[in-house]
């Protein structure tokens, strides 16, 4: 056989290697985000005055960003459906739409940060903003990484290569979405 053989499954785990890796990443990410959100909740309960600082966040922008990320996640899901049918070009197009959703999310988040910083609402202003910038910044880094991977996998999918990876990036992308559900409610909705 002249072609290169790539092992994509492990009999011990009972699932493809890539998927095992993605779930391992997600399982390790939960305490990372939890490590920010749990102490925030602890401090938030003890500081009712943080409600005033939370009120300075634009809830409409937060809601729009939530819708944007959910829609982006939908396109990742639809890309998976297309990849399952073996339709690489359609999967690639849908993955790119998901990535553009993530990019717009980042642009809006950057505008929000700019507005906060220009009003002297920086991490040094108070612990609330320290948590806000840390949590949304960490989430933003995950979005940025996700966008890069979505685009890389889309380029492969367009040629009909490695279509199994479409599902893997989808799982990661949905996880980033789930994290945002928590950030949105904890920072923007609960005041």
């Amino acid at each position: 056989m002249s072609g290169q053989i790539i092992a994509t499954g492990r009999s011990a785990a009972g699932m493809p290697t890539g998927k095992l890796a993605v779930w391992m990443v997600i399982a390790s990410e939960i305490p990372i985000f939890g490590g920010i959100l749990a102490p925030y909740l602890m401090h938030r309960i003890g500081h009712p005055d943080w409600g005033q600082m939370a009120a300075s966040l634009n809830v409409w922008i937060g809601t729009f960003n939530t819708g944007l990320l959910v829609t982006s996640s939908l396109f990742a899901m639809l890309a998976h459906a297309a990849a399952e049918r073996g339709d690489g070009p359609l999967a690639a197009a849908r993955l790119r739409l998901a990535a553009y959703g993530g990019l717009v999310f980042l642009c809006i988040k950057a505008y929000e940060w700019y507005a906060k910083i220009s009003h002297d609402h920086v991490p040094q202003t108070g612990t609330f903003y320290g948590y806000y910038f840390s949590a949304t910044g960490l989430h933003g880094i995950h979005i940025l990484a996700g966008v890069a991977i979505l685009l890389a996998i889309a380029a492969q999918a367009e040629k009909g290569k490695n279509l199994q990876r479409v599902e893997l990036i989808g799982i990661y992308w949905h996880f980033v979405d789930v994290v945002w559900f928590f950030l949105f409610h904890i920072f923007y909705i609960i005041r």
Binding site: G35, D49, A81, R85, T127
Partner: protein, 127 residues
Amino acid sequence: MSTEAATREERKYWRIWAILISLPLLSLAAQQTGMGWLAILVSVVVMLTSTWFAVTTWMHVHLEPRFVPYLCLLGIAAMFLLFFMVAPDVMSHEGNNWQNRSADTPAHIERPVDPLAPPGAAAETHH
């Protein structure tokens, strides 16, 4: 998968999308009422419901081998462990042979930085 089955599957994803779009709007509506307790209650319900929908219908965690959900639960358990190990010290102001006096006067801890103050003045006022 037949074309018909694929179309049905995609329609299902769109339905889940509609639910996941609607739920945050519910939280927003609860917040706009101005009743804090209602916003907290609705937020908790919406957070958990949205997560459940995303994890089960989009991430298909129930179709993975049994150890995958347990792996994720382990991460959540670590988070709770962190919370309950640290919370007594952070949230209480006194305990067995210790007292956090500065926590009783939060104004000395939480003070916005005065942009007009000369450099170094902010650090002095915190002590």
